[in-house]
Amino acid sequence: MYPPEEHWVLTKDAFERFLAALDPDPNAAGVVYERIRSRLMIFFRCNGCADAELLTDETLDRTIRRLGEIEIRNVMSFVKGIARNVASEAHKKSSKTAAIEDLPAPVWDRSRPDEAPAADPMQLRCLERCLQKLGPDEEKLIRDYYQDEKRQKIDRKRRIAEALGISAGALRIKAFRVRRQLQRCVEGCVRLQTS
């Protein structure tokens, strides 16, 4: 028997059971787990929930707990159902507790793009370092793909895709993967600099 929800805590065993349900191969299970997390984060953000991270953890906790109680045939579909319940509960709660302090802090007066905040110098230094760690082709891809020239950007992307012999969609995914890798590197670098 599993304890009722209010007394339930996530244990290592329960988490490993969950991973095993995702995929018998631990590495593959880790990848699936990360994708579930990503889906949930996007889901809660796009459903107007303020604390996407907290609600994502809550959804995963409930899923893992239920996995010990019932047989779940389609984990992804089950997770989505739990997420909708969690979002609905969060909306009911937030409609009673929303306060001005909960609103995001203003970032800048966007009506004047010239006054947009400058990039953090440490981020920039780390970004330059991390760019140097990429392969030459990946670095070029990042510099080219994310260069911002409005209309020209579309044409440029088409040219890059043609040069690489891939579709525009495949190029977008390729650039996105390198970007994620780069962002992880930069975040690690910034952590090192500030520790």
Binding site: R35, S38, R39, M41, I42, F43, R45, C46, N47, G48, A50, D51, A52, E53, M76, V79, K80, P104, V107, R110, S111, P113, D114, A116, A118, A119, D120, P121, Q123, L124, R125, C126, L127, E128, L131, Q132, P136, E139, K140, I142, R143, D144, Y146, Q147, D148, K150, R151, K153, I154, K157, A168, R172, I173, A175, F176, R179, L182, Q183, V186, E187
Partner: protein, 287 residues
């Protein structure tokens, strides 16, 4: 909406919370069961963040974006990263760079560099080729501003007159440039006027230091004239008659700046020199 393929529109509308409930749930059903669609959604989300930091979203979309993205520390980190990514220019054209390399450096010492001239009290700015970047990077172009200085410059890249700012040769991009700054704080940047050509992503500012201001280390603070700190570098060393700082060009939009150099000796510090700098808007290409 994002500039680009109109097929992205439903995804962007989903990300901004603008789909009807039925369409939203339908979209969620699909990306919960389709890894490729999830990845595409994530990629478009990053491009939406880029559009936000570049001020490309209309007011309604900006508000929707902020309402969804700025609550989360994870999203804020991504916004910060996008801001940094937006500050780096695109890749230079390798074909052009290679041709420049062979023209300037026909010998096998292709990655050797022109030398920074020693700045005097009145010298303004010198821009030369450097190779402070890793070997796989291309060399930088040589342009020069300010009065003559003892600088080795490749043919075709000779110095121009005082106070002039010279654009790089047509068609060439300058990923990194170096300027030597004379000390002295004057209004409007004094003679230290520089123009950063499009495509430049790093600047090396060589701060001329008097011979008697000799310290084991130096610290430099680059600020706007109204005192907003742009960059701080500690633990700098003197090389020859200058201390050099490296600044991402994205940090220096057109405007007036000041650099304060401090000498550090153990726990003691002493102001060494101040430098004023005016960054001019880059030259516009003739139409």
């Amino acid at each position: 909406m994002l500039p680009g393929d109109s097929s992205d529109e439903p995804t962007v509308r989903y990300l901004l919370g603008k789909l009807s409930q039925a369409d939203r749930e339908d979209f969620e059903d699909r990306y919960f069961s389709d890894d490729a669609l999830l990845e595409q959604l994530q990629a478009i989300e990053e491009e939406l963040i880029d559009a936000y930091v570049k001020g490309r979203l209309d007011p309604a979309d900006r508000a929707a974006f902020e309402n969804r993205f700025l609550h989360s520390p994870e999203c804020r980190r991504r916004v910060e990263f996008a801001r940094a990514l937006a500050a780096i220019p695109g890749a230079p054209d390798r074909r052009v760079r290679a041709s420049l390399l062979s023209r300037l450096f026909p010998s096998s010492l292709g990655m050797r560099f022109a030398l920074a001239g020693a700045a005097t009290a009145t010298v303004a700015a010198v821009v030369l080729m450097l190779h402070f970047l890793p070997d796989r990077r291309a060399p930088q172009i040589a342009i020069k501003t300010g009065p003559p200085a003892p600088v080795e410059v490749a043919p075709g890249n000779e110095a121009k007159g005082i106070g002039q700012t010279v654009a790089p040769p047509k068609g060439l991009l300058a990923p990194a440039l170096a300027f030597a700054l004379a000390p002295g704080v004057r209004g409007e940047g004094g003679l230290n006027r520089i123009s950063i050509p499009p495509g430049t992503y790093l600047l090396r500012l060589s701060l001329a230091v008097d011979a008697d201001a000799d310290f084991p280390h130096y610290a430099a603070v680059l600020s706007t004239v109204d005192g907003r700190e742009v960059l701080r570098e500690d633990n700098l060393n003197r090389k020859g008659a200058a201390v050099t700082i490296t600044v991402p060009s994205g940090l220096l939009p057109a405007g007036n700046y000041a650099v304060k150099l401090t000498g550090i000796d153990g726990k003691n510090s002493e102001a060494v020199a101040g430098y004023s700098l005016t960054v001019q808007a880059p030259p516009t290409a003739p139409k």
